[in-house]
Amino acid sequence: MSAVVAGLGVAALACVPLLLGDYGLSLAINIVSYTVLATAWSLFSGPTRYVSLATVAFFGIGAYTTAVFAETLAWPLVLLIAAAISISVAGIVGLSTLRLSGVYFVIFTLGLAELVRQLVTWYEVNKTRTLGRYVFTDITAAQIYWQLLALAVLVFAVGFLIGRSRLGLALRAIGDDETVARHSGIDATRAKVALFVLSTVFMTLTGAIMAPRWTYIDPAIAFNPVISFTVLIMALLGGVHRLYGPVMGVVPLALLFEFLLARFPNHFSIMVGVVFILVVYAIPRGIVGLVERTVRWPA
């Protein structure tokens, strides 16, 4: 029953590019891409409670993979390369920091985007001698939307399956109490690294798919830290302890930010910061947590 409803919903969403104009489509692309990013973020950070601030590092890696290979290689191959790069980077980061306390992970991810950006800049300046790159493909906006929608379906399916697997159970145990989890025979490090790698693959693919939207990218665009920040605040507003939580935060905030960016371009960062602080203080368990609590009371 619910599978039929979900199928119909996806089919309806797939028709969106046929109904909306250019502006509506770009807004829809924005919402779907942040849905993938925020859901992928909470796939890892929700159950483990490790706050990752490196979303844009992987997003940018994806965008650059497209910029480098899109003209010479077939499109599926480009996506495959992007996934492979993100698996190796996330594996190294995860293995070296996820064995330790959560703070090390936060600090490392805080700087990871900056590090990757500096390395890419260094490479571009020294080896290719140009800072920016043009992305010329014949991929249309509607095709980007459909790819992102497919990716969103995939991330929900993966999240659904993980929630019902031994890995999901292990992760919830780790989130509750890692020491207890280790004592009951869970290889906590392996579970955390596996999930971290999985969630970053989705982020990287989103970046790779989104890159043709820009036609021109440089390190400052592809590794813009505001993207990490936006994903984090959307996921928190929605609620990270349910699979469908982040979407609840993505839709209102994407619309709000669109409005703020148009009205107050110079004070955008201040307002986003204030919204973020309000979310952290007023709705610590997200909209989903709020709804669950209010609905339970009368019963």
Binding site: G102, Y104, W122, S269, I270, V272
Partner: protein, 290 residues
């Protein structure tokens, strides 16, 4: 050449150590992982810039005026923004996550205010930029002055923490907040004090940094990051460790920038950080109880 690079590496390293000492107070005593820490440094640098270019006053006067203001601001931030989180948190991990998120939001607010006021351009001013002969090498006078002041401030902090009653109370809270209560230490006041003191320290470093480095409104995160790396390398709550780690970081950065490539300094910083995490996660001088 080597001597000059080493000297400027020592000044930079001394500055990192001072910045990190404030953070180790905030994180080690008040248990707040403050991601907006570097923004305060940049705000102080802008204040010093404004003192010098706007009011034509010496930045040294800024060193007297700005840190008390930062002390008051940090105290208010702790009291009104962070203490509700401290009360709400059931475990230390919960507080860590909450404080990271709250200060991350604060980072964007402060950065946004500075961007609105000063834009994204780089700022610097020329104060005491006369070359001095020092043991056969040439050093800029402002760098040397900044180093001397950093040493004085750091030493003052060290003596204050080890020789006074209040300092001992603060250190006791760092070791064990519950046991500190048993010996009649007001943990809440000591935490607020440590947090505010950390803010004053980073503001003082910001004024010193502004005398010899160019800065812009987006640079705060970089300083936060380096301070965090120094704190963890040295061992959380350990002032001597912060000094050693700061010097290692400053020297490495300068050697890499001079002899290899200026674009790779952050990569070098990260390489050191990774090695420390893999080999000695409790820090160079830290104890293995965490």
């Amino acid at each position: 050449m080597l001597l000059e690079v080493t000297l400027s590496g020592v000044t930079l390293g001394g500055m990192y150590a001072l910045v990190a000492m404030g953070l180790t107070l905030q994180y080690g005593v008040a248990r707040i992982m403050n991601l907006s820490y570097g923004e305060l440094l940049i705000a102080a640098a802008f204040a010093a810039f404004w003192f010098y270019s706007g009011l034509s006053l010496s930045p040294l006067l800024g060193l007297i005026v700005v840190p008390p203001l930062a002390f008051a601001a940090s105290y208010a931030i702790y009291r009104y923004l962070l203490q509700p989180l401290v009360r709400r948190a059931k475990t230390r991990d919960q507080l860590e996550v909450d404080s990271i998120l709250a200060t991350f939001g604060l980072l964007f607010v402060i950065q946004g205010v500075m961007l609105a006021l000063f834009g994204g351009a780089y700022y610097s001013y020329s104060f005491l930029s006369v070359p001095l002969q020092f043991a056969g090498a040439i050093v800029a006078a402002n760098r040397l002055l900044a180093l001397v002041l950093a040493v004085v401030i750091g030493l003052g902090l060290f003596l204050g923490l080890t020789r006074t009653r209040l300092g001992t109370a603060v250190r006791a809270v760092a070791v064990d907040p519950v046991a500190a209560q048993l010996v009649a230490i007001d943990v809440r006041t000591a935490s607020a004090l440590a947090f505010a003191l950390g803010g004053a320290l980073v503001a003082a470093s910001g004024v010193l940094v502004s005398m010899f480095l160019t800065f812009n409104a987006n640079l705060g995160v970089v300083f936060t990051l380096k301070a965090l790396i120094v704190v963890i390398m040295g061992g959380v709550g350990n002032l001597l460790g912060a000094l050693i780690a700061g010097l290692i970081l400053g020297l490495t950065e300068n050697y890499v920038a001079t002899f290899i490539d200026p674009g790779l300094t952050l990569a070098a910083t990260y390489a050191i950080f990774l090695i420390v995490l893999l080999v000695r996660p409790q820090g160079l001088l830290g104890r293995a109880d965490r």
